[in-house]
Symmetry: C2
């Protein structure tokens, strides 16, 4: 029996003589080896283990070492010990099924929920929604992160304030005032992990938030946001869009409206000045609130940025912003600028402690903003994206002069207007040519008034490709556009 | 009129002659100055602005510069321009109320929801739930972060996989197998921002998750978890606790049970081996699932860690872990080890992209784990916490030998058993002496069977104070314990 157990031990890979020499090490090694053997099925369920003294003698270890190892594995549930029947391998330790079913890939597009899954990288990626990932300012970010971690007081590594680090809220107060005309104080800013998290905090789970539906939204917008609101039990009601942006005069019984005032997403223009005033007047008269999705406010090319709507009335507008377009979605950092009356409720929804946004990244972003690195990066990216925008416009003027380009004064995407009824075939051609982009139809709210004409168009994200891949992507894009009569290029707002 | 406008311009702080010399700079400066003046109320609502040409002449700038500035501010809604009435300051630009109402402090304890708000740092902080914030391994973490950011492929800075970075899931697969006996593959791990996020993903919003209530929980546990589940619409049903841990034989119609098998929170012991087997048998027989809260499994002092229950049946146990105790809650990183059948549903609940956990921190943690820094840190902290545990036990033996100490074989806290009916007065004495800690009563599930005796006790977190503050905290603790007859110290599991 003793011999057979030496063999068993060898068979299951235990070589205690070669393992650590301390007795603690031997016990640990024996435990690991026995556990591995049970786990792998080399010691089958029900198998009876040798008595302590036999195995101890065979292995040249103390009896207590074996006894300890058995006891530990009994405590962990690998072995069972019953009076009179010795120690056995437990019945329930089934080996893990090693075959993994192939699962569908998870890289679905962020845009319309109907977007095809991001199965593999397309040859030419012109989808909207992400900045140029090759342009992340690694060195400058690392410098900020290092300063932040080195200079952080110890309490940073303990439980965090759900409002977010004060350093970041102060830096954002100054930055947003200067660059976006936002009027706030650090106490009215709550840090979150991005726009979607902000929406969730505002509307809560099944109505637990500070806001209630129905929520008016723009007839064209991100299906992803509509889906997220739907899950939270919030009905969305579409507002028509015309050449002046969302038709806010359609607002009725809703108590809240979600807008992209600086750069309508995805169709392109800013909300007309009169509509900006009108929606604030509506909010004041009805006790309503405007959610301002300030997703790309920093990227305006032909004149100074349109200031945030929030500046018109900080008690009637909630501004939501993030670094997802300006820096990278990999950081998962965003902010909400709140009217005073919502602060407590949003913090309550967030929980007792910071449970979401990395506190070290928060400190790093605070340093990045206050040191001027953020301004420098935005300036550099603005130049890069403007040059891409110009190349897109020029390529279309040369190769598809009948296609109208809109929404190019700002942002990271443009809309190519297509003749009615041609969007679907253009998308098919694009897929065929390995060009990934979205059609306008995918962004249209399903309940949109049928009086509002359907627009055919392609949403072209010109930030996504890396610098060297952009030329080829443009060329491929021009190749999939429907042919037409030359009518001169229009490059409207 | 011209003169009065030069004066106005001076009054509102515009000194274009000293500003940037380029015309873009002048326009921008004029816009900023005018906007600031409107915002601050120096230019009152309704005030009529001078005609372009007058202001241009006064300031020595081109007429177009003034026209552009006015147009921009009209577009932003600060000014209004109506045919025949010139340009005026808009009516709605109210100044921000500058007074900030004092809000109650937000640093509430993480433990029982009934905990008093963390208004200011107590003199002696012995609350459970956080590691020693002064021990964060800044240099090693920074080294990992630097390597991660420098070596990351560009796609890291684009949209992320909701499962989490593969590098981290691979590192965790290896680490958890080696240290916790967890059997999994990277495909069954989903990264999240911590335990609470994991719970939310599993149970969804109002029933949208992969699991449904009612959920059995231990009669003593975190009120914070119960509250969170309550918000998600999940009813919790308490299981009694005895000297062998949770009485899993009480499980009835529930389909899921939340346990702390390695170290019952907060009472202390590991789940007995027979109960470990029994709960797995229950899950198999009833199609149930066990949620394993592996919150401090790495900190076991007197023998090798009790392996994770998950290793007994990876298809019946969901393991939830995080770095909140082992490293810092500031990182907001956790993981779920899932049975294969739940993976798709949890990813669907998480969203199309990584929207929660910082991707750079994920890569940094992957490096931290695979480089061995994590093991070194855990080893160092285990020594530190064991020494604190020993000092606690010794101090009690010397100064309060009638107090039984339990739950000290592992973790970052101990439970001091008190004579029946003395907990409340001990807590009062503690508050009086500036010692912050929780009583056992605060952790008891409100629906606990009245047959289960109430336990009087103090939950002492010995990890929270910094190294130099610990001695004084122990001394203060001994001062608040109820007096009693010496009966010898028991330092049970």
């Amino acid at each position: 029996m003793a011999n057979s157990w030496v063999n068993s031990a060898e068979r299951i890979g235990v070589d205690l003589h070669l393992e650590l020499s301390g007795s603690g090490g031997r016990r640990a090694a024996l435990i690991d080896a026995l556990r591995a053997a049970v786990r792998d099925g080399r010691l089958a369920p029900g198998t009876r283990l040798p008595p302590y003294r036999s195995l101890a003698a065979d292995l040249g270890v103390a009896r207590n070492t074996v006894a300890d190892a058995y006891a530990e594995l009994v405590a962990e549930g690998w072995l069972t010990a019953r009076q009179g029947s010795g120690t056995r391998v437990a019945e329930r330790a089934r080996p893990l099924r090693s075959e993994q079913r192939a699962r569908p890939p998870r890289h679905a597009g962020h845009g319309p929920v109907t977007a095809p899954p991001r199965a593999r990288a397309p040859r030419h990626d012109l989808r909207q929604g992400t900045p140029d990932a090759s342009a992340f300012p690694r060195a400058a970010w690392l410098a900020s992160y290092r300063r932040a971690v080195q200079q952080a007081p110890n309490e940073v590594f303990g439980p965090g304030d759900p409002a977010g680090r004060i350093e970041l809220r102060e830096a954002l107060t100054e930055y947003l005032a200067r660059v976006r005309g936002v009027r706030t104080t650090p106490d009215r800013i709550v840090i979150c992990s991005g726009f979607a998290h902000g929406l969730r905090l505002l509307f809560g789970q099944g109505g637990g938030g500070v806001l209630r539906g129905p929520l008016a939204v723009e007839a064209y917008g991100l299906g992803f946001h509509r889906a997220l609101l739907g899950v939270a039990g919030v009905r969305t009601v579409p507002l028509s869009i015309d050449e002046h942006g969302a038709c806010v005069e359609e607002l009725e019984r809703e108590r809240a409206v979600l807008l992209t005032p600086s750069h309508q997403f995805p169709t392109g223009g800013p909300l007309h000045a009169e509509r900006r005033s009108a929606v604030i007047d509506w909010a004041r008269a009805r006790g309503g609130v405007v959610l301002e999705d300030d997703y790309d406010g920093e990227f305006r090319y032909d004149r100074k940025p349109v200031g945030a709507l929030q500046g018109l009335d900080p008690e009637r507008v909630i501004l939501l912003g993030s670094v997802s377009k300006s820096l990278s979605p990999a950081l998962r950092l965003g902010w909400m600028v709140l009217p005073e009356r919502y602060v407590e409720g949003v913090l309550a929804a967030k929980g007792e402690r910071e449970a979401w946004a990395s506190v070290l990244d928060q400190l790093s972003l605070a340093d990045f903003v206050s040191s001027g690195s953020y301004d420098r990066h935005v300036r550099r990216m603005r130049q890069r994206y403007r040059s891409r925008r110009d190349r897109l416009v020029a390529a279309l003027a040369a190769h598809a002069p009948h296609i109208e380009v809109t929404g190019v004064a700002a942002g990271l995407h443009a809309v190519l207007r297509l003749p009615p009824g041609t969007e679907r075939s253009a998308l098919k051609a694009a897929t065929w040519q390995g060009v990934a982009l979205d059609g306008l139809a995918a962004f249209r709210h399903p309940d949109t008034d049928t009086d509002m004409p359907t627009r055919d168009g392609l949403v072209v994200g010109y930030a996504t490709p890396s610098e060297h891949a952009y030329g080829a992507a443009l060329e491929a894009l021009c190749g999939v556009l429907p042919p037409g009569e030359a009518t001169g290029v229009t490059t409207g707002e």
